[in-house]
């Protein structure tokens, strides 16, 4: 049995997932995530030592196509959906700033 998820764990995964939580949200999510993970503890009763994992329902293989030129998305149409664009490129705030 794995230890129960803590408030600190939730704060850590929120940070990893780029989400900012208020103190109240942190409290509520900690209780809810712990409940969900507690339910998953029923899996601890299973002997899975010799069972191989399934990641996907189909036997996945690489799919190749002939190297021919086909229609692709229109650049201007794609860029038109972006919040900020300059010189046909996506524009973002400074990546290297204070505190990074």
């Amino acid at each position: 049995m794995t230890e129960r998820i803590t408030r600190q764990d939730v704060a850590h995964v929120a940070d990893l997932a780029r989400l900012s939580l208020t103190d109240d949200e942190l409290d509520a999510f900690t209780v809810q995530l712990a409940d969900i993970l507690d339910h998953a503890a029923d899996l601890d009763a299973l002997d899975l030592a010799d069972v191989s994992p399934t990641a996907h329902p189909l036997p996945l293989v690489n799919v190749f196509r002939d190297d021919v030129i086909g229609p692709t998305s229109d650049r201007d149409e794609v860029l038109a959906a972006a919040p900020s664009v300059e010189d046909s490129q996506f524009k973002v705030p400074p990546v290297l700033g204070e505190g990074l």
Binding site: T2, I5, D9, V10, V13, A14, L16, A17, R18, L19, S20, L21, F29, Q32, L33, D35, I36, L37, H39, A40, A41, D42, L43, L46, L48, V51, S52, P53, T54, A55, H56, P57, L58, L60, V63, R65, S73, D74, E77, V78, A80, A81, A82, P83, S84, F90, V92, P93, P94, V95, G97, E98, G99, L100
Partner: protein, 480 residues
């Protein structure tokens, strides 16, 4: 009128696509303010499309098997030039530069898209109460939920707004709302329908499928959207089976197993009235010549736990793309890192945040083996158990939902209670198998009950044959 009859009437010139559309737009005007099935109704676009169908019929052309049939599309499928929101603030106002393959196939078959339907944000939910744009109500009782996540698509069909709609099903998101709204809903074999242009939730589980008022109409729509697509690398290369021609073949000689674990006392909460209808459905199949018996598929009880690790894990990865850079919402901040956080925090609702964090945790160092690794092994057990069961049975049977439609707000405070409503539908997604919900009478509250027919991969023909038998034998349903 069925979609088949509407299409026949339009193709033969007996009815105009425009008159068919106007009739459905009138139905939408009358009740949509109360139901809220749609995020957007495309009156102008649909009118132009219907007029084009009529022009082609007049010119002697055949617009296709869905000629002039109004359809609704869940708002997590991309539509070129038309906003696609996933009922999330983070995609509000985003206009896709391409169509999903299913949307192209609908248009190529002559269907007229009348709107995009509401859903639980990013298809995460079982009641359509997690939408950023407001709840959808069950047309049969507006104090009840329509189910979810494809609640808008189910409600649109149940309310008579459209004869056909498309939903997506990751853990039951087509079948459960179909059951709660009293319509037919199908999750096809994984890979049978292209996922190109379906906004990803959990890629190894997601599958698009039809809602309809009849089994025959569901077969018609599934035939239109099925088939190999080079743009989806998980698309099955083999040609899809013909469903329409086998619908009336019955179940004589078929072996059908009722899944004990999902239908009786093993799990808490399978309601008495739902069990009673399941028993009657089994008797109807037996009367039609099938052998029906109860059978054990033991690991199905672990499906829920495995699913609520695997689906959030895949979601946490898929939803990393919403970073305010290339499309959708951006909340400005001094640095890119702060912009990512500010954007995601403002753009995602609580259920989406919960699942992203759950998935991130299940995949994080130190917990991967305990949660994600273990769940993937349980997935193998479920696949193996189904394989054993399908060695003895052609089809399996269970309830679709443990209960009839619950009240708005009843389960929103406790996520785990909401998740438990998916317990019967999840195993098919984990195995990649087809299954469908067929309305079969009503519960003690007068609301519809759905019976789930499960089949092995590519088993749609037998599944639809049994569904047709159930439909013909079903007691009266609930009236909208």
């Amino acid at each position: 009128m069925s979609a088949r009859h509407l299409a026949e009437a339009v193709r033969s010139g007996a009815r105009s696509a425009r008159s068919v559309l106007d009739e459905h737009l009138d139905a939408i005007s009358a009740r949509e303010p109360e139901i809220h099935a749609f995020n957007v109704v495309l009156t102008e676009e649909a009118t132009a499309a219907a007029d084009e169908i009529d022009r082609r019929v007049a010119a002697g052309e055949d617009p296709g098997p869905l000629a002039g049939v109004p359809v609704a599309v869940k708002d997590n499928m991309c539509t070129r030039g038309i906003p696609t929101t996933c009922s999330s603030r983070i995609l509000e106002g985003w206009i896709p530069p391409y169509d999903a393959t299913v949307v192209e196939r609908l248009a190529a078959a002559g269907a007229v898209m009348v709107g995009k339907t509401n859903l639980d944000e990013f298809a995460m939910g079982s009641s359509t109460e997690n939408s950023a744009f407001g709840v959808t109500r069950n047309p049969l009782d507006t104090t009840k939920v329509p189910g979810g996540s494809s609640g808008g698509s189910a409600a649109a069909v149940a309310a008579g707004f459209v004869p056909l709609s498309l939903g997506s099903d990751t853990g039951g998101s087509i079948r459960q709302p179909a059951a709660l709204c009293g319509v037919v809903g199908v999750k096809p074999t994984y890979g049978a329908v292209s996922r190109y242009g379906l906004v990803a939730f959990a890629s190894s589980l997601d599958q698009i499928g039809p809602f309809a008022r009849t089994v025959s109409d569901a077969a018609l729509l599934l035939e239109v959207i099925s088939g190999h697509d080079p743009l989806d690398s998980t698309s099955i290369p083999e040609a899809p089976a013909d469903l329409t021609s086998v619908l009336d073949r019955g179940v004589e000689g078929m072996r059908i197993g009722i899944i004990e674990e999902l239908s009786g006392d093993v799990l808490e909460g399978i309601a008495g009235d739902v069990r009673a209808r399941l028993g009657e459905a089994a008797a109807a199949l037996e009367a039609a010549g099938a052998t029906v018996e109860t059978t054990s598929v033991p690991s199905t009880v672990y499906g829920l736990s495995a699913y609520y690790v695997i689906a959030p894990a895949e979601a946490s990865s898929n939803l990393a793309r919403y970073d305010g850079v290339r499309f959708g919402l951006r909340v400005d901040a001094a640095t890119s890192g702060e912009m990512h956080s500010a954007t995601r925090t403002a753009g995602f609702g609580d259920e989406v945040k919960r699942r992203i964090m759950l998935g991130t945790y299940a995949l994080s160092a130190g917990y991967y083996d305990a949660y994600y690794g273990k769940s993937q092994k349980v997935r193998t057990l479920i696949v193996d158990d189904f394989a054993r069961a399908y060695g003895r049975y052609d089809l399996l049977l269970s309830p679709t939902s443990p209960t009839t439609a619950f009240s708005l707000g009843e389960k929103t405070a406790d996520p785990m209670t909401m998740y438990l409503t998916d317990v019967c539908t999840i195993p098919s997604n984990l195995a990649g198998h087809p299954s469908m919900s067929v309305p079969f009478g009503v519960g003690d509250d007068g609301m519809p009950v759905g019976v789930q027919v499960l089949a092995p991969a590519m088993g749609e023909p037998a599944m639809f044959r049994a569904a047709a038998v159930l439909e013909a034998a079903a007691p009266p349903g609930a009236a909208a």
